[in-house]
């Protein structure tokens, strides 16, 4: 019978049903010999659970065995009792078990203590009266019994530390004795005295000393001693150390101990043993909650851990980063998390958890970081939500998002930043259908409506909210609900003005319960234009537009295929952040390039070699990591990453948000399907995309700039108003207006020569003639070209010089010329050559200037003192220097550009030449299908700062990777490259 029972146990363990044997197990326990009884009890404890009715049959047997004189039988009974016992039967055996606390054998006492602990867990009220007996157990002469009683006290103290403060003294004494080696040698494990007991005691002390100075002071000495004693190098001593450190950081702080503990943590983190590293990270995670600065000394280690091969270590590191998140490093950390999430997307056990971490961060970040946050973070987040196919994790994540946002909205919404509200409304609009079966969609609707009514909600946010409502309506819901929305819309429209009236259309369509005819594409276009006019911020443009087109698709698909829907919104989100239609390639770049950076960061430094990293293909990161790179650079890169991760933690850290290139960072998951569905959506969205381009660009750049300056030349009489264009490529919010008013003689003579043919170059001032300059651009002239205005840019070392040439091709003299410059930031110098006629010339800004005017030519050089300037100078560097610089720059950007094709040149050379000509870049080297180019910023806050380009021919496009120490520079340079190549 016993053997059979053992086999039954085995079968059960393998997962086969052996329920027929349950009754026999009980019988065996009831009737068999001691040996059989043991197997019977074992089988029962494995087969049955607390709720099983069979157990009732056992109560009597247990009771009998407890009272037996045979020690073994008592032990068995106590074991089975502690494993499982029906709650309502506890009173029956409680007195007997209690009695065992005074049993002469310590093993029985010990088991009795644990059994009582189990009772306490199941039914705390029933063991209320024997707390005094627990104290007795704590003072038991046998350390084993005492150890067992610590389980109880750990639990009790955890629940209610206040009422056990008096025990602190005894606990400290016990620990001191244990640490001091007062226990019998039996208790040593690897010559450490009772390590598990020490761990237990340290935990209890942590609970006791938490936020209690008096109690804490009692334990400082013993803690210090434990730290000191635990110096043996065995795992179990590390366990004690770890516990010690945790306790030290939990109790009232004492600087001396904290120092030692911090040192311990350092040792843990730096340890080559991976288990210790893990614990070190855990300890750090724990302590940074008290003092975030503690993470600072370990920055580099943490960065290394981020790239660790062990997923668990990585996750722990992210957890740590999660704890030190603040408004400044939030961008980087979230990016890291999302990246991790992407890498582990197959790992079912982690994706959910990490997704939540990311989500939680998003929430806290949105409420913390608020409106100052870069717009790409919410974009990324929404993309994360939107992309995924409809598998379980994504669904859960979305549900989680919806739930948490609904509960957020139910609270006080007044303090939430606008951008967060926008995200909330998007998520609710998109995914509340997931919740529909459980909750009334109307409640969500009401929450949104409340949002609309609030005064502080900005116009932009309102448009988001309305978009969400529209989406909600388009799913099959009652007409009444739709009417609610309509009401909202109507209430809303007079508040903001007619520019929002397009929503009227949406609402009425919703009223028709989805059956209404579509709007014509033309009409939709108009809507979008209106929406554009409405939004002031460039960022606002990108998503509401895609949002509204979402709802168009929405109606098209009639909600039947959420996948397609989310896909199309992916593609749109996607497009709203890319500047050009480069989806496929950019995706690869984003991923690989970034990965390459990561890997090089994780690389072990190797000796300096000639070949610089960036020359290798950034699209093949594995090869890149194998190739040697210069020794210091990865380190530096890491350091930069570190500084961006730990920014804002230490007071000595400069408070600046180092922004990693977020445009590079794109979600890759399921991109192919996104592209496919894009095919369908493209027909309706293409126009918006193109119109968004410029604006998106300026957003990602961080500061708006105006493309080209408007040069208005007004001539009284013969000169007509002409708009010049493209003189100064980028002038931040300034406008240059030149209004030369010329008053000519009454008798103009025929022109001598066309102004274009003028060898203006010869009139360049000597000090400027040797410098790089743009072509002369004729700005305007009068009908017979007797008076013409032309200009060119000259790149001086420290300034961009705008030369304006005024050519008078008449014989008649210019009597008066007024050059009016309305740009405040221009400094004006007047050069003049070949003057032979005395004509009064007055300068608007410097009325004192009176210059005799030339009969033939006059030129003034305007030297603009731009505050912000992205104009460029060529940067002459060697290939080796380029490599070093490349690695030290943190802001990078990748993009694909059009290749210029000419007949007699390689496409790469042709393209680079075109760029060189237009943008004054320096082509450092061309090797095979790759080329490296350098330039630097002429003036402005980042004056002299370089920007490096690494180009590679990739099929029929040019993959460009830009890097610079200035965040905005790659963005804006890229824009100009695109522009330049489009013009070619």
């Amino acid at each position: 019978m016993k053997e059979i029972m053992v086999r039954a146990i085995y079968c059960e363990m393998l997962g086969y049903q052996a329920s027929f044997s349950y009754i026999h197990a009980i019988k065996l326990a009831q009737q068999g010999s001691v040996l059989e009884k043991r197997v019977g009890y074992l089988a029962v404890s494995l087969f049955l659970n607390e709720t099983d009715e069979f157990l009732l049959l056992l109560v009597n047997t247990v009771l009998k065995d407890l009272q037996s004189t045979n020690l073994i039988e008592v032990c068995m009974a106590l074991t089975v009792v502690s494993q499982m016992f029906p709650k309502d039967m506890i009173p029956a055996i409680l007195p007997v078990v209690e009695e065992k606390l005074t049993h002469p054998k310590e093993i029985i006492r010990r088991k009795a203590v644990l059994a009582l602990y189990k009772f306490y867990l199941i039914a705390p009220n029933q063991v209320q009266h024997i707390h005094s007996k627990f104290r007795k157990a704590l003072c038991d002469k046998d350390p084993g019994v005492m150890t067992a009683s610590l389980h109880i006290y750990l639990q009790l103290i955890k629940e209610n530390p206040e009422s056990y403060k008096d025990l602190t003294g005894s606990m400290v004494t016990i620990l001191r004795q244990v640490v001091g080696g007062k226990l019998p040698l039996d208790f040593n494990y690897h010559s450490v005295p009772a390590p598990w007991l020490q761990i237990q005691l340290l935990r209890i002390l942590a609970y006791l000393g938490k936020e209690d100075q008096g109690t804490s002071e009692m334990m400082y000495d013993v803690l210090e001693e434990s730290l000191r004693r635990a110096e043996m190098n065995h795992n179990i001593t590390y366990a004690i150390l770890f516990e010690c450190v945790k306790t030290i950081y939990t109790v009232h702080p004492k600087s001396q101990l904290l120092e030692k503990a911090a040192e311990c943590i350092g040792n843990f983190v730096l340890s080559p043993k991976i288990n210790l590293k893990y614990l070190g990270l855990k300890a750090l995670t724990y302590v940074v909650q008290q003092d975030a600065n503690l993470a600072l000394p370990h920055q580099m280690t943490i960065i290394e851990c981020l790239d660790h091969s062990d997923v668990i270590i990585k996750r722990e590191t992210l957890e740590l980063l999660f704890r030190i998140t603040n408004a400044q490093n939030v961008t980087v950390i979230v990016e890291k998390m999302l990246e991790f999430l992407r890498l582990t997307c197959d790992d079912y056990s982690t994706i959910d958890l990490v997704g939540k971490v990311a989500e939680l961060t998003m929430n806290s970040v949105f409420s913390l970081g608020g409106d100052v946050m870069q717009p790409d973070i919410p974009n990324n987040f929404l993309r994360l939500l939107a992309e995924g196919v409809d598998n379980v994790e994504d669904r859960q994540l979305r549900l989680f998002a919806v739930d948490s946002y609904v509960s957020l909205l139910q609270g006080v919404t007044a303090k939430l930043p606008q951008r967060f509200l926008q995200v909330i409304s998007w998520v609710l609009g998109e995914y509340s259908y997931l919740r529909e079966e459980e909750s009334d969609p109307g409640s969500v609707m009401r929450l949104l409506a409340r949002l609309l009514d609030q005064r502080h909600t900005s116009t932009e946010t309102r448009s988001w909210v309305l978009g969400a409502m529209t989406k909600l309506c388009s799913s099959p819901v009652s007409v009444a609900l739709a009417r609610d929305v309509f009401g909202c819309g109507v209430r809303f429209i007079p508040q903001v003005d007619s520019s929002l009236s397009f929503l009227d259309g949406y609402v009425s369509e919703a009223l028709a319960a989805g059956a209404a005819p579509y709007k014509s594409p033309h009409q939709r276009q108009e809507d979008l234009v209106q929406e554009k006019a409405l939004s002031l911020e460039p960022y606002g443009l990108s998503l509401p537009v895609s949002l509204s087109s979402c709802s168009i698709t929405d109606r098209l698909t009639d909600r039947r295929s959420p996948t397609l829907l989310s896909m199309s919104s992916v593609s749109q989100c996607y497009f709203s952040s890319t500047t050009l239609k480069l989806e496929g390639v950019k995706r690869v770049w984003g991923k690989d390039g970034y990965l390459a950076q990561q890997q090089s960061a994780g690389e072990t430094p190797t000796p300096l070699v000639e070949l610089p990293n960036p020359l290798l293909s950034p699209q093949s990161p594995p090869s890149q990591t194998q190739k040697p790179s210069s020794g210091l650079e990865p380190d530096q890169e890491k350091r930069q990453l570190a500084s961006s991760l730990f920014v804002g933690l230490g007071s000595h850290n400069s408070v600046c948000l180092v922004r990693l290139p977020s445009t590079v960072w794109l979600f890759i998951k399921h991109c192919q399907s996104a592209n496919q569905s894009h095919g369908g959506a493209a027909t309706t969205t293409t126009p918006q995309q193109t119109s968004q381009r410029t604006l998106d660009h300026t957003t990602s750049n961080g500061n708006p700039h105006v493309e080209g300056t408007e040069q208005r030349v007004e001539a009284g009489g013969p000169l007509s108003l002409i708009r010049g264009n493209g003189m100064v490529a980028v002038v931040p919010p300034t406008h240059t207006q030149t209004d030369p008013q010329t008053q000519q003689d009454l008798h103009p003579a025929p022109a001598l020569e066309r102004p274009r043919d003028l060898p203006l170059a010869s009139h360049l001032p000597a000090e400027l003639s040797g410098l790089a300059r743009s072509e002369f651009t004729p700005l305007c002239s009068d009908q017979d070209s007797s008076l013409a205005l032309s200009a060119c840019r000259v790149y001086k070392e420290d300034a961009l010089v705008l030369l304006v040439f005024i050519s008078n091709n008449n014989d008649s003299a210019l009597h008066q010329m007024v050059l009016q410059l309305t740009c405040k930031e221009l400094e004006v110098y007047i050069f003049q050559t070949g003057l032979n006629n005395k004509v009064p010339f007055s300068f608007f800004r410097n009325p004192g200037w009176k210059i005799p005017e030339s009969r033939q030519k006059y030129q003034g050089i305007l030297q603009p003192g731009f505050k912000k300037n992205t104009d460029l100078l060529p940067l002459t560097v060697s290939t080796g220097d380029y490599g070093k610089m490349w690695l030290s720059f943190s802001h990078d950007l990748k993009q694909n550009l059009r290749l210029v094709t000419t007949e007699h040149q390689e496409p790469l050379t042709a393209t680079l030449d075109a760029l060189k000509g237009k943008l004054h870049l320096h082509v450092v080297d061309i090797i095979g299908s790759e080329g490296i180019v350098a330039c630097r910023l002429l003036q402005g806050p980042g004056q002299g700062q370089p920007c490096l380009l690494h180009c590679r021919v990739n099929a029929d496009s040019l993959a460009v990777w830009l890097r610079s120490p200035v965040p905005e520079l790659p963005d804006s340079l890229l824009y100009h490259c695109q522009k330049a190549l489009t013009e070619t």
């Binding site: 040996l35 598990w196 366990a239 770890f242």
Partner: protein, 193 residues
């Protein structure tokens, strides 16, 4: 508290499972599978801790495992247990098994499930660590075995059969668990500095 103790071999066949919290039959099997799936994927040179096994509870719980030759010893514990402490406990458990069975191998676990359970019961009781002293555990187990022998009779026969099986040449079955670091003379950690 310890939630579950699982032992399975390299192929995921369970050799011992003990749950200190109640789960349904199916869930238990699923937990074993899931745990094996998680643990077997891990390299040798990564840490012995795993977090967030999906089934056995959320982020509160962690898996602490050790891999000895053909067997994985996995303890699932909640946050109130010390990681390294449990790691030490696994070591104690394996050492105890080794002493009790004299060169323990996978077959011992198959044929003496009850004994293994009994040893475990001396160490962990109701999810609580009861005894960590190897000698004490062995004393207890021996005392029980002694009684077993005195009452034996029939029980001797299967024991002999088992030893016969053990001595057979089974090439596909690993015969001994090569417990690399079971001796106390494990190479010590390099000193901190």
């Amino acid at each position: 508290m310890i939630k579950a103790i699982l032992i399975f071999n390299n192929h995921g066949k369970p050799r011992l499972s003990k749950f200190y919290e109640h789960y349904s039959e199916d869930t238990e099997q699923q937990i074993i599978r899931e745990t094996f799936h998680l643990v077997s994927k891990r390299d040798e040179n990564v840490c012995n801790f795993l977090e967030g096994g999906m089934l056995i509870g959320g982020s509160e719980n962690k898996l602490i495992y050790r891999h000895y030759a053909t067997l994985y010893f996995v303890f699932c514990v909640d946050s109130s247990e010390s990681e390294l402490g449990i790691l030490g406990l696994i070591q104690v458990f394996v050492e105890t098994l080794d002493k009790c069975f004299e060169n323990v191998c996978e077959l011992d676990l198959i044929f003496h499930v009850d004994k293994v359970h009994n040893i475990l019961a001396e160490m962990v009781m109701g999810g609580m660590v009861l005894e960590t002293n190897m000698n004490e555990i062995i004393t207890q187990v021996d005392a029980q075995n002694k009684m077993e022998k005195s009452e034996a009779g029939i029980a001797g026969a299967p024991a002999r059969a088992v030893s016969a099986v053990k001595n057979m040449n089974l090439p596909e079955m690993p015969r001994n668990i090569n417990i690399g670091d079971i001796s106390i003379k494990v190479p010590n950690l390099p000193s901190f500095k």
